[in-house]
């Protein structure tokens, strides 16, 4: 495989890994299939580029992008908890509404370039690597890897705290939260805030990596993230010491690799989403036949 494809896979894959870490919280921990992702991803991007263009340092822009994502998670969670709207519908409502919000923030533009503004991938550190494309890619990979590892370690630590335990317990068994004298709804909303915060952060980082904001960048992000989480957790299902966070990151890298290889084999890019959906389907089927020991889905167990 040509080196540049491998570099592409790693850069893109690590961006998607952050989305996967977010969706790991909503889908795996809270058992909440959250469609907000498709819109919170570009929201992060547009918030980030908007701030950078008015001169805000990129680090602060990234933090604000994260916060903007937590707000979308809050809305979806609030709709679900307060008005008992199903997870899918709450997600759809927020996701659809955000499409307009994103366009409004972008002032109607669907594509905005960063130009030569200082970003995560265009700063004093990356300049050290000169003009060589492979070296630049390497610099990007180092930066992304550091970010992904920091997020992963923070998440692993969080899941050892009381609040982390509570989040897992509420996702596992909602009655548990109530029995423990806690407001289950609060923890659900909190988890969705975190999840979408990470997704928006990923969107912001991805836009900086691409060096432009693309209004449609979020389309299909749910599929990418779910596929990543499901591949990762299926592969490491019986390996006890690999954490769900690590599994999600590896899953994201594998799924990105699969997509890139298929496109590299000559499938026209207009079929990208078709390829995404079909490979997701194949993954679910493989997961069903090879990775689950007992095929019958027992009462109370989560469907794939």
């Amino acid at each position: 495989m040509p080196l540049n494809i491998i570099f592409n896979i790693l850069q893109q894959g690590l961006c998607y890994a952050i989305v996967a870490l977010g969706v790991y919280i909503s889908y795996k921990i809270l058992n909440f299939p959250d469609l907000t992702v498709d819109s919170s991803f570009p929201l992060g991007a547009v918030v980030c580029i908007g701030l950078i263009q008015v001169g805000v340092p990129f680090i602060i822009a990234l933090i604000v992008a994260f916060i903007s994502g937590t707000l979308t998670g809050f809305i979806t969670g609030f709709l679900h908890v307060k008005f008992k709207i199903s997870p899918l519908l709450s997600g759809i409502i927020t996701m659809t509404a955000l499409l307009s919000i994103n366009l409004a923030v972008a002032q109607g533009r669907t594509l905005i370039p960063y130009g030569d503004k200082t970003t995560l991938f265009n700063n004093a550190f990356t300049k050290l690597f000169g003009d060589n494309l492979s070296l630049i890619a390497l610099a990007n990979i180092i930066i992304l890897l550091v970010i992904v590892i920091v997020i992963k370690v923070l998440m692993d630590l969080f899941f050892k705290t009381k609040r982390g335990y509570m989040l897992r317990a509420v996702g596992d068994n909602e009655q548990m939260g109530i029995s423990l004298g806690s407001n289950s709804g609060f923890y659900k909303i909190f988890g969705l805030c975190l999840a979408n915060g990470l997704v928006a952060l990923a969107g912001a980082i991805y836009s900086q990596y691409m060096n432009y904001f693309d209004n449609t960048s979020g389309t299909g992000m749910v599929v990418i993230a779910l596929a990543s989480v499901i591949i990762g957790t299926a592969i490491f299902k019986h390996v006890k010491f690999v954490k769900g966070t690590t599994a999600s990151i590896v899953g994201a890298l594998i799924y990105t690799a699969v997509l890139n290889v298929i496109i590299a084999l000559g499938v026209p890019t207009i079929y990208l989403k078709l390829v995404m959906a079909l490979s997701f389907l194949v993954i679910l089927i493989l997961n069903y036949y090879f990775f689950s020991r007992d095929k019958k889905i027992k009462k109370g167990e989560k469907h794939v």
């Binding site: 609040r163 068994n173 423990l180």
Partner: protein, 260 residues
């Protein structure tokens, strides 16, 4: 002694506004004194579980008052009541978190009613403490601290649920047919364990059961429910004189009346 829990003039109907509307409780009254261990028997649909739901707050009432320690808790949310009213369910899956380990479940229950913040859930000292607690249950759980709860047997799960429900001090414990899903031997073990915990910690308890023998053998007060009212209420001495046959006879009589 003053009443720990009182239900006054409870009114509750189901399928309200439809042709199937059925008033289960019309002016239901019950007082529970501190330290009582009450067993509740009755046929299906007699309102045993509904009463537990009304006390714990998972079923809203249409009228009347629920008072705990002279405080009206009608408007108190279920999760806030849970800090004072513990409950063990028939389904072992409800009282524990299946994908968390035994240790993680205990750590959660140990913090019940407190703030779940960003401090670590347990430390070495706590872990040793939990191990001792599990040992005292005699269910072999002390060697399964790091096992996911869904991998435990039904009996082990119920023992754990019982331990978790009573880890932090509570005003009252509700047992909702908590041995019904277990085999006879395990059921016996859990019942013994329940009795031991209740006695050691002096917990006021309401136990719904289908097992008439348990209802007679355990506890110091016995209630029989029929169609939303209490038809037998015997305490202490009176209760000691009841036997299974008498109880079964009354049970059959009311069943015939209902056409069962």
């Amino acid at each position: 002694m003053s009443n720990l829990l009182s239900l006054k003039g409870i009114y509750k109907s189901f399928n309200k506004g439809t042709i199937d509307e059925m008033a289960l409780f019309t002016d239901f009254n019950l007082d529970i004194k501190e330290g009582e261990f009450v067993s509740i028997v009755g046929s299906n649909g007699s309102g045993k579980t509904t009463i537990l739901n009304i006390i714990s707050g998972s079923t809203p009432i249409d009228g009347g008052d629920v008072c705990l320690k002279d405080e009206n808790i009608n408007k108190m949310k279920e999760y806030l009541r849970a800090r004072r009213i513990a409950r063990v369910y028939q389904d072992p899956a409800l009282g524990t978190s299946p994908n968390l380990t035994v240790l993680e479940n205990l750590a959660l229950a140990d913090n019940k009613g407190h703030y779940y913040g960003l401090s670590f859930a347990f430390n070495k000292k706590k872990k040793a403490e939990y191990q001792e607690l599990l040992k005292s249950l005699n269910m072999g759980l002390e060697d399964k601290m790091n096992t996911k709860v869904k991998r435990l047997s039904g009996g082990q799960r119920q023992a754990l649920a019982l331990l978790m429900a009573t880890m932090q001090p509570v005003d009252i414990l509700l047992l909702d047919e908590h041995t019904a899903a277990l085999d006879p031997k395990t059921s016996e073990e859990i019942m013994e364990l329940t009795n031991r915990i209740i006695k050691e910690k002096h917990i006021t308890t309401l136990m719904v059961t289908h097992n008439l023998r348990y209802a007679i053998e355990y506890g110091n007060r016995l209630l029989m429910f029929n169609q939303g009212s209490i038809i037998i209420d015997k305490s202490d001495k009176e209760k000691e004189n009841i036997n299974v046959d008498d109880l079964l006879k009354t049970f059959n009589e009311i069943s015939i009346e209902c056409g069962n």
